[in-house]
């Protein structure tokens, strides 16, 4: 009898110290991973980055669905899936930013070449420098994968280069017209002088 009582107490003590086997759904919930995945998904959707890495995006989406499905059921498995999803989403983001930046760079390069061709850096120095500044900031933000802020700055850079080109073009045309007027004045003087040498 004594030994039976002792065995019972020992069992209770073991149960107490070894932990309760009942499942707690909020314990180890991968909420941070889930929120990160949602942010990735929103950014990818906003900028249509999925088109630049469709395979990784599909893989990420599958993992995300799996992770989401296991949330509060099997948090460890959910975390693992969401980690995998986030890794793929990150690749999609990186590839998307790289591709979108390449497009922006090409467009900016074209408009900058046009502006350089008319020497807008001199003729419209302020606008040209503002365009360059916007581009530098955009490039830095893109390097930091902050496409939300980089993208409008790339747009701003393009507009400012275009504006610098238009300003320079207008000034050049004005100077051209003035040159023509001056040439006419010089020709009139030379004609009056009976073709006197001018140089």
């Amino acid at each position: 009898m004594k030994s039976a009582i002792g065995f019972g107490l020992l069992s209770i003590a073991l149960l107490f110290f070894s932990g309760c086997p009942t499942f707690d759904p909020l314990k180890d919930l991968p909420q941070t991973e889930y929120d990160t995945a949602q942010k990735y998904r929103a950014r990818i959707e906003k900028f249509h980055f999925d088109q630049y890495a469709p395979d990784q995006f599909q893989a990420a989406e599958s993992a995300f669905k799996s992770g989401e499905g296991n949330m509060k059921k099997d948090n460890l498995a959910a975390k693992k899936s969401l980690d995998e999803a986030n890794a793929d989403y990150k690749v999609v983001m990186q590839k998307g930013i790289a591709a979108a930046r390449k497009i922006e760079d090409e467009q900016i390069s074209a408009v900058r070449e046009k502006a350089d061709g008319i020497k807008a850096s001199v003729a419209a120095e302020t606008e040209y420098n503002a365009a360059q500044d916007a581009y530098d900031r955009a490039a830095k933000l893109a390097d930091e994968e902050n496409w939300e802020e980089a993208q409008p700055l790339f747009q701003e850079a393009k507009q400012k280069y275009e504006s610098a080109y238009e300003t320079a073009k207008a000034k050049k045309e004005k100077a051209d017209a003035q040159f023509e007027k001056t040439k006419q004045a010089q020709d009139a003087l030379n004609a009056q002088q009976g073709g006197a040498k001018t140089e």
């Binding site: 008319i118 807008a120 000034k171 050049k172 001056t182 009976g194 140089e199």
Partner: protein, 242 residues
Amino acid sequence: MKSMKRLFIIIVLFCAATVGFAQSLQDNPDYQAALQLQKSAEEAYAAGDYDKADTYSAQAEELFNKVRLGSDNGGLKAQADALLKTLDERMSKLDMERANAEFPDQLTTAKTRQGAAKDAFDAEDFQQSINEAQAALAALDELDSLLAKASAGGEVVLPKYYVVRLVPGNRDCFWNIAGYPFVYGDPMKWKLLYDANKKKLPVPNDPNLILPKQVFEIPPIAGEKREGTYDPAKKYPALPKK
């Protein structure tokens, strides 16, 4: 003839002024400054500084125009000066007393225009001075002509009647009569003569049939005074050309 001479003098003076100015063009500081500005404008343009290029070029244009207009004034001034000298010379040779007595209006016109030419010259309005001087010279030409006519026997009077003659080798006909200097000096005006005298013809519709001793009336065609019958022994002036 006098007009031709005057025109020749003006052309010579203008050419001399032009050549002289051309020679001095290279020494003209405004012209040199304009060339320098033009060069600076081209450099600024090449560097893309279109604002500066525009400004320099506009300044060059202004100087080119200044040199040209200065030259224009120089040319006009020389012309005006030459005309005023010619005018003074013509006035000094004019018989003022007689002109004032016989043709005071024409003399007043010439003197008034001469005064206006001098005033315009002093005001540096050389084109106006030239215009006035030319008008004064034209008035003097008319005055000279009137004085010459008056010297030749007063007012010009041409014959009013012509008696058809038998001119050896050149038979009288309306064509030939109209061509006589004291008639119209122009054979083409024969029909005026014919129309005025056709009733006197044997066959009025035939202008080719005229007879010696017929007396034809010569209608005035230019306001000339006509009286009496043509006298072959008398010298007549030609009908003045209009």
